[in-house]
């Protein structure tokens, strides 16, 4: 037995609470456009989630509803460097991933309210939506299951030779599931094109990472020879840069890659979670000092973008989200016959 086992576990790294030293530096037009797009995409997620929270509060959304507020930079940064043939799968905190895949806010919101025009015709709900057209494969309610499915998406990319990469998101909680280790092994063994993204928001429901996870999550692939990297998930540029490099590595045929993105959710685990397991100071520090959207907004202002223009962007987004919410309330519930459809694909004799 190796004597080095006594080595003290390093303290888990939190997302840096210091503001990023990075200034955009890119004064060129492309850089500004990217900045604006990040601002738009992240604000769209936030406003969508705020509206979902409001509709939940009105009783229009039922059951479980897990919001992405605070984590916007993760999916926004990664999706910004994906290619069209890439596929995405995630767990139950999935609204943002669908928006990032280009799915229609109306269809997502209508699914949240359980209506016929939802992506799953009202039969899936918040945690279960899919879009083959947009290469989004769920939306999975079983913690860890999406990771195996993601490895399988990657297996199919390699089998078909379509140069696609599967981006498989999981939370810090899921990273402890046995099947995640099983899939690290197989993905490495077979050089599958899979980007494993651990969205480490510090808490698996109410249990902090330090109470649930030994070692460091991005290093969990080392034994399998999978490179891993930890990145500041409150900084969308840092996420983008890391994802770009990781996707390049994977697409070159080198096999899977683990990206542990240090992030933070401002809201509870789900709508009914009062989040008593962390201090209000911790939450408010993250919100006021590290907010991914505020960071980008500041950069935009430094680039000379007027407050009025930023307000207009917010207004435009609110109009889209408002229309989605309206649509999600006027769309009818599924017809009663829908109870019986879609259990099996009918086979003609």
């Amino acid at each position: 037995m190796a004597a080095s086992k006594t080595k003290k576990k390093p303290a888990p790294k939190k997302p840096s609470q210091k503001a990023s030293k990075k200034t955009v530096g890119k004064t060129d037009k492309a850089g500004l456009e990217q900045l604006k797009k990040f601002y738009y995409d992240m604000l769209m997620i936030r406003r969508f989630e705020e509206k979902a929270g409001q509709l939940y509060g009105m009783g229009l959304i039922g059951g479980f509803c897990h919001l992405y507020i605070g984590q916007e930079a993760v999916v926004t940064g990664i999706s910004s460097v994906q290619e069209p043939q890439d596929t995405v799968v995630t767990s139950y905190r999935d609204h943002a991933h669908m928006l990032a895949c280009g799915m229609d806010p109306k269809g997502i919101m209508a699914e949240l309210t359980g209506r016929i025009d939802g992506y799953s015709r009202g039969k899936g709900g918040s945690m279960h939506m899919f879009s083959r057209e947009k290469n989004f494969f769920g939306g999975h309610g079983i913690v860890g299951a999406g990771t195996s499915i993601g490895a399988g998406l990657g297996f199919a990319h390699k089998y078909k030779g379509d140069n696609g990469v599967a981006v498989a998101y999981m939370g810090d909680g899921a990273s402890n599931q046995g099947q995640v280790a099983e899939c690290y092994n197989m993905a490495a063994l077979w050089d599958l094109p899979v980007l494993f993204v651990i969205e480490n928001n510090q808490y698996g429901m109410g249990t902090s990472v330090s109470r649930s996870s030994a070692g460091q999550l991005y290093r969990r692939g080392e034994g399998y020879g999978i490179p891993g990297e930890q990145v500041d998930g409150m900084d969308v540029f840092a996420v983008q840069k890391a994802a770009e490099q990781a996707l390049g590595y994977i697409r070159s045929g080198s096999g899977p890659y683990i990206l542990e993105v240090m992030t933070y959710r401002y809201r509870g685990h789900s709508m009914s979670d009062p989040a008593k397991y962390r201090s209000k100071e911790e939450v408010s520090t993250m919100k006021t000092e590290r907010d991914p959207i505020t960071q980008v907004k500041d950069m935009l202002q430094k680039q000379g973008i007027e407050e009025a223009e930023l307000k207009q962007i917010d207004k435009d987004i609110k109009a889209i989200v408002g229309a989605a919410a309206e649509f999600a309330q006027v769309s009818p519930e599924p017809h009663v016959d829908e109870l019986w459809t879609d259990i099996l694909v009918e086979v003609q004799d």
């Binding site: 705020e50 929270g53 939940y56 509060g57 009105m58 009783g59 039922g62 059951g63 507020i69 596929t87 016929i116 025009d117 799953s120 015709r121 009202g122 039969k123 899936g124 279960h128 939506m129 899919f130 769920g138 939306g139 299951a145 195996s148 499915i149 993601g150 490895a151 399988g152 998406l153 297996f155 199919a156 990319h157 089998y159 078909k160 599967a166 046995g178 099947q179 099983e182 899939c183 092994n185 401002y266 709508m271 009914s272 008593k276 919100k287 309330q329 006027v330 769309s331 009818p332 017809h335 009663v336 016959d337 019986w340 459809t341 879609d342 259990i343 099996l344 694909v345 086979v347 004799d349």
Partner: protein
């Protein structure tokens, strides 16, 4: 325009709550995301965040108020430039969820639907057999001329028939691949995949590590992304590691996706008791998986069954649980040579016609039932033996037509009695053939114990032809 801030529901079960504390006062500026109040739900004290920007114009429910109904206005939010004077009627305008219930009652009412592939409007005739099955209907199977395939046959083992079925389908469709433990270089733990690696190569015949949960989930993901996996579990006992992916990921996706994403996949391997391998390696999973809407469960007996049903399973766009039996692998039967031979899923086969009693069995028990029928014939009892072939969707029609003719039925299975397939058949006969029965529906099952290792005890735990003969004599009141 002033807008109402409503009492939010903050848990799936909350209908009212207490307004514990206001954190903003009238006249305060509010930005979306600001915590404006604390409320006590049925579970916890929660913070209420503002969704819109504005000014807190008026507080309608003071702090400390208990039992505030969800969705009642608790405050009024003003936009920039508005004053308290702009507040008019303070009654809430809550948008109720529109419902289609009316349309269901009034057949003539147009149903608002987003696309044309929706289920039939109420009142039309449903022809989708899967829907009818789900609703518990008894449906006559479409005609299937199986005999026509038997003009040209070869004699082969169940093992070889399974291999040939996979090889033929892999030749026909590049999306089909085989994955499992020892399926490639070892040629299959039970030699079912003999020769497949040589013919199809390592891209399509893939040895896995011993990680059933992980590779079953991977296979599901690959099926969603356009492939047609055949997953071999070395035995179904190990497949239990993967039961979450079989049920939750494969079985439910089509429904959860509103029909927009399916999972064409075959999970196959030996099921049931082998010989002297003890409790963890000897059990029947038919009842477990047959419980699940969204799965099809197939259990062949003969080599022809094995070939025809496996080909149908690989071609089927749905997730299939394919239950083989190790004791049958080496047994030989006549098998049609035609590559078009495919046995439709959902159809039972009458293996032996008879007039006095119906014996229903599946997998290895079909052979035991036929042995029993031979012995019964010598005793003057003419038994009809039904080979179920498919457990789900069960061929209710063939079973019921038989029992209406014989008025007596014995079900035979290797699995445990409680909530087993025999229990389902008993319920079926009770619901649809009660008036035809001349004797109680009787089950012959495996003993309700974990499988013992000792040879004499194992023998007692499994149904034998003698047990079937005894059960039949009982329902025929022959003793």
């Amino acid at each position: 325009m002033p807008t109402n801030i409503l009492m939010p529901a903050l848990s799936p079960t909350m209908t009212e709550g207490n307004l514990a504390k206001w954190l903003k006062a009238e006249g305060d500026t509010i930005e979306s995301g600001d915590v404006i109040a604390e409320i006590e739900t049925d579970k916890a004290t929660m913070e209420v965040e503002a969704v819109d920007d504005g000014i807190l114009g008026k507080i309608l429910v003071s702090e400390g108020t208990e039992g505030v109904p969800v969705n009642s206005p608790i405050a009024i939010l003003l936009e920039e430039g508005e004053s308290v004077d702009d507040i008019g009627d303070t009654s809430a305008a809550v948008i109720p969820a529109p419902s289609n219930d009316d349309a269901a009652v009034d057949v003539s009412a147009p149903v608002v639907q987003s696309s044309s592939d929706v289920a039939q409007a109420a009142g039309t005739i449903i022809e989708n057999r899967d829907i009818l099955y789900a609703q518990g209907k008894v449906i006559e199977p479409p005609p299937f001329d199986e005999a026509s395939f038997f003009t040209d046959t070869i004699n082969q083992t169940v093992r070889d028939a399974l291999r040939d079925a996979m090889a033929e389908e892999m030749r026909a469709d590049d999306r089909v691949y085989l994955m499992g433990e020892e399926v490639a270089e070892y040629q299959g733990a039970y030699k079912i995949s003999q020769g497949l690696l040589d013919e199809f190569g390592a891209r399509r015949v893939i040895d896995t590590p011993i990680t059933e949960h992980g590779f079953a989930g991977m296979a599901v993901g690959s099926a969603m992304n356009g492939l047609k996996p055949i997953i071999e579990f070395m035995t179904w006992n190990f497949g239990m590691q993967a039961i979450d992916h079989i049920i939750n990921s494969a079985g439910k996706t089509l429904y959860m996706a509103g029909g927009k994403l399916g999972c064409p996949i075959v999970f196959r391997g030996p099921n049931g008791a082998a010989s002297r391998v003890g409790a963890q390696h000897s059990q029947c999973y038919a009842s477990w998986y047959a419980h699940v809407p969204g799965l099809k469960v197939v259990a062949p007996w003969s080599a022809a069954d094995a070939k025809g049903l496996l080909k149908a399973s690989i071609r089927d766009p749905n997730p299939i649980v394919f239950l083989e039996n190790e004791m049958m692998y080496g047994q030989s039967f006549d098998v049609p040579t035609s590559e078009d031979f495919e046995i439709p899923i959902g159809r039972a086969k009458i293996e032996r016609a008879g007039a006095d009693v119906t014996i229903v069995a599946y997998s290895i028990m079909v052979g035991k039932a036929l042995e029993a029928a031979t012995e019964l014939a010598e005793q003057g009892i003419d038994a009809e033996v039904i080979n179920l072939r498919t457990i789900r969707p069960l061929d209710r029609w063939t079973i019921l037509e038989s029992v209406k003719k014989t008025n007596r039925i014995v079900s035979v299975e290797e699995g445990w009695p409680f909530a087993g397939i025999g229990a389902e058949i008993a319920a079926l006969c009770g619901e649809h053939a009660f008036d035809y029965l001349d004797a109680p529906v009787t089950r012959v099952c495996g003993a309700d114990v974990p499988m013992p290792y000792a040879a004499n005890l194992e023998d007692l735990a499994l149904p034998k032809p003698k047990d079937i003969v005894n059960a039949v004599r009982k329902v025929c009141y022959a003793d």
